[in-house]
Symmetry: D2
Subunit: 374 residues, 4 copies
Amino acid sequence: MSNDLGNVYYKNYLHLDKILGAQEPISSQTDNPAHDELLFIIVHQAYELWFKQIIFELDSVKRIFADPPVDDKQMGTIIARLDRILTIQSLLLDQIDVIETMTPLDFLEFRDLLVPASGFQSIQFKEIEIRLGVKRENRIPADREFMKSRLAVEDQEHLSRVEQQPSLVELLNDWLSRMPFLEIGEFSFWRHYEKAVERMLQTDKKIIQQNPTLSEREKEYQIDELIATQSKFDTLFDQDKFEELKTAGKFRLSHRSFLAALFINLYRNEPMLFLPFRLLTLLLEIDESFTRWRSRHALMVQRMLGSKIGTGGSSGHEYLSQTTRQNRVFMDLYNLATFLIPRSDLPELPREIRRSLGFHFSGQNANSSGESSA
Amino acid sequence: MSNDLGNVYYKNYLHLDKILGAQEPISSQTDNPAHDELLFIIVHQAYELWFKQIIFELDSVKRIFADPPVDDKQMGTIIARLDRILTIQSLLLDQIDVIETMTPLDFLEFRDLLVPASGFQSIQFKEIEIRLGVKRENRIPADREFMKSRLAVEDQEHLSRVEQQPSLVELLNDWLSRMPFLEIGEFSFWRHYEKAVERMLQTDKKIIQQNPTLSEREKEYQIDELIATQSKFDTLFDQDKFEELKTAGKFRLSHRSFLAALFINLYRNEPMLFLPFRLLTLLLEIDESFTRWRSRHALMVQRMLGSKIGTGGSSGHEYLSQTTRQNRVFMDLYNLATFLIPRSDLPELPREIRRSLGFHFSGQNANSSGESSA
Amino acid sequence: MSNDLGNVYYKNYLHLDKILGAQEPISSQTDNPAHDELLFIIVHQAYELWFKQIIFELDSVKRIFADPPVDDKQMGTIIARLDRILTIQSLLLDQIDVIETMTPLDFLEFRDLLVPASGFQSIQFKEIEIRLGVKRENRIPADREFMKSRLAVEDQEHLSRVEQQPSLVELLNDWLSRMPFLEIGEFSFWRHYEKAVERMLQTDKKIIQQNPTLSEREKEYQIDELIATQSKFDTLFDQDKFEELKTAGKFRLSHRSFLAALFINLYRNEPMLFLPFRLLTLLLEIDESFTRWRSRHALMVQRMLGSKIGTGGSSGHEYLSQTTRQNRVFMDLYNLATFLIPRSDLPELPREIRRSLGFHFSGQNANSSGESSA
Amino acid sequence: MSNDLGNVYYKNYLHLDKILGAQEPISSQTDNPAHDELLFIIVHQAYELWFKQIIFELDSVKRIFADPPVDDKQMGTIIARLDRILTIQSLLLDQIDVIETMTPLDFLEFRDLLVPASGFQSIQFKEIEIRLGVKRENRIPADREFMKSRLAVEDQEHLSRVEQQPSLVELLNDWLSRMPFLEIGEFSFWRHYEKAVERMLQTDKKIIQQNPTLSEREKEYQIDELIATQSKFDTLFDQDKFEELKTAGKFRLSHRSFLAALFINLYRNEPMLFLPFRLLTLLLEIDESFTRWRSRHALMVQRMLGSKIGTGGSSGHEYLSQTTRQNRVFMDLYNLATFLIPRSDLPELPREIRRSLGFHFSGQNANSSGESSA
């Protein structure tokens, strides 16, 4: 009896012998095999598969950015791949639900056998952090210490090499700094913007002062707020102040790049800025999704161990809580919202710039349809 | 004691008196109040709130399409709003999990009191179907009957009026039919495409015939497949055949519009087609999400009632299963996949067309950066 | 420089060399590497990891059932494991979102290289189906044919062996058939139930006939419904009719087991039936989740291929749609809802039986607290 | 033309006139209607609907606990209702995705019109917090201040009244303190447990000291950990120390109740403890889900406003981040994990106690089946 399976057979193509032959619970070698150890292994292996895919997509995106100019077709590709990363991240979150089907008592059955291995030893996860832009010097001390004492030398060296490549946040910074729309010919956008902000703040002040329903204390409070807002905008318009704050770690982007990102947010409806806006949104969402993952992860560890020490000798919950705050990379994109002003207050772009930001179609049918989008 | 709440107070702004005062379980008026009836009411009210939002977004999208030309900024708006609908739809799906926290026995406690009311009497849901493009004549008989015998006269008349407006699928058809790229100057895209398809099929045929590992039966089978594929492409290239199938209900789009949609799919990497491609993808996904909702809804009803008759006198599970198949609107967008050919086989677009599909930036900084996307 | 990694190191424990070394895109060996093939491989590998875990849990559950009596501690274990399977299934659904980040055109880049491999060749998925209770003779013809012609001989033989073991639905049937509560001493539950049903139907009839707001046509319609319901209950109370329908494939459970399942549903508030009720609910939900997965899978294939033939020579969408209907295993648990009657109509259980269904605590503190649950 | 809609008609039953007539965007009364304000209103209204349902379920659960003894049927009811709350909470999380379809710039279009209204004015959300167990004195200062200055007097008074009722965490504490299993006859569980812990720690110590692969520094480190663990257990076994920490706000449960909760976790496989264990797990998960919601909410506000002040005059992001940490109620249930020991080290329960924790079935069929669970 024979059948024709052709050249490609499902299980060979996927190397299922390797994949399904890679689960060896330690507790199976003892007198007391723990049922839940297989789940523990498989969930971590699934994580590592997805980490590999995320790294693959990040690298392809970084390669495009590293070889400017980035043309528009490539921008579409970048966006599709970041969107894929985001979709995978929602799996990473959901997988925590699967881990949590294991109770703390079930985990105890094999936990001691794993000491001192630890999930923090995932090289691929560190690689993702580095590729996005987490810097060694910004990591919390426990994290820095761990990367020295608890990783194999070859893994340490590998991570050091990865750290020497430009990160995504740096490549983004370069790309933004090349944006050509900020000053064109006679038109200086930021002078207009500054005036619009000033007008907006003046109007707000008058509204507060003339509001008969406000008590004096209320008025004072609201005026204080206005002054705080004013001072934030001052930073925006003063390159020196900005760079000072950047040195103090308050910004990752350069002044010029930050302004470009703000411009993209403000005029995101212009066709040529549609993809750049989507890019910035995706980066923010990828950052947010890892933040959510770290924070859920911290809750899960707390639930599993209470205030016990983790298998790697770290107090896992505390460690994770701290990296949740510390390892965010695209905070600047959150901070952009501080500087948005209502559309109605936006300076109108000169006709020349508007044209350069839109589609121009000049095919023969265009006249008849009069339509530019399609 | 007084405090200054200003002019706008949360609960007034949201009219929470109305919202939170609209739950009146019928069973509360009997000797046997049913705990779960409140959930039943609230989940349906939440559905209706979201339906209102979906209708609001659909109408805004339809208004844009109904007033051509659709410029590029508007295209961005359309996409943002369809994307919002899709996000809301995923809530609609999740709400079924909430209903399912009610067991069939709990439902029985108050079910008889609701007879003959029925979820199929949701006017807003019918409106959504109609706005998308579900036609009265395509509905299953039970559905058509129900819309006559089981709706208040005013509601029937309202739905009839909605049915007279152009639906989204019709507006899409018009928009696609105006697409100017199909024949430009000397270049006739479809003649090239037809040849590419022919070449592809010829090559496939050779590969099959010369494959030494295939048995005769295998070869025959695969050649048959090729012929079936060939015949499908024939339809694509033959307007008359196509319109014939359209009359038979196999297509909703016109021949010209179907080709335009295919063109968008094939050259979606061109900047000017990025938004149109996203539009088509979103419409397909909205259709898919409603399909999933109907199909989950059918399972839920079956679980709740078995093969009992629903409160409205319909056998709910069967009804819903049938509309799952019948009320899909954007099947053409699924069928597009049938006619895609690998990128490497695609005819290259003439330089003139490519240019008209890309961004042109000519600001002063552009030269220095050499970059067109930003 | 050295550091102490202890005996267990993360990447060794997880065999990451195997896991991360098992991705070999075929297109990488051609002149035209396809970026998306890695995703395609990894998503399938993740599926297979989870399938392995599901099989592991199913087997452990089956082992417990196969060695009666099932004590209460074991029942808790069974439920925890089925709950885990359900949680994993929601990952399986979410992974489809990840696949859909690949567009049909991207898939075309490497699809031909995979012919004739096919996802239907997943042995583990077939194993899951078989373990749950899908029978060879109930499969659709294309499925049966495929299992012969398209699987390696060793895989066919493996599946045949799995088919010879008792399935979960059979083990459930045995367990239900041993349930001791149906007739105890003088009390015959089903005679009481039959009378309660009769009373309920008589009352319903009167209510219809005496309702002044109903037209004659309405009354007739509703009486017809009543008769249909009556006839369904007749089947329930008539073992011969029931077994006849079972032979015709309308039921999988025996008459006695079906009644036991109904009893559990009706008296699920009794402490001793809490776990059995949870068991039945979980089995229904596992069935439902696979149904949803097949149905989403079908939509995804349609979106990817239109009406093209799949890589394995099957028209994937159609095949999947059919198995969605055909491969459901626990339909009986859905059908139970047909036979539920309102709690108020339920015969009260004799005191002796109630006692045997509740907790009895007789510790010294119990008197003082008077509480039985804790 | 007439039709018979019966007594109950869908839209009347659901009071859709109220529900769908409660959206009045303020911006619609200006020259500049903001498209996105409707979404903003509807998403908040949907939240309030679900809050109402959560409060309804919480109250029903609290009523059962407030009227001891809680019998086993009621325990099943409690669990079903908490499970429903948890399912609704996952909707609350998903609704944030819907809000995020509104960009910061879109929000700016109408944000100023809403000042000084604020989402923090949701009375129902505060009610949920209070019902769960958030105490006024534990709230962060901004929160306490806000509840005075920014709520209508009637709402303040309402909340004060709610604060005077016993909260769920207090009712849970009472229920746990009544648990009768801790000392029964001769058997004193905790003396056994203390010894088991001692043995475990001694063994661990030996393992560390005799491990040849550990450096002296490593050994020292691990011994320090052991001592820390020892000291935590000391608290557990010393009622005075425990109550001291409770006074300092480290625990919410009394010493006796905490031990009872630990007992339930350790022996959760005993049939009689299955439901109590599920109860504790659900409370922990409800707490966790609100924690996740607050933390996502904080990210969303940061994304929408940057470091701007919220409409209610609060810096929303910072406020939310702090309540995320501060308003957790069931931290004790997380801390339980600290005190779990492996099952193999658990003292075996005396036969008498085991029996009182299991099902006893003594019906006539029981002998033949020999099965106790069904």
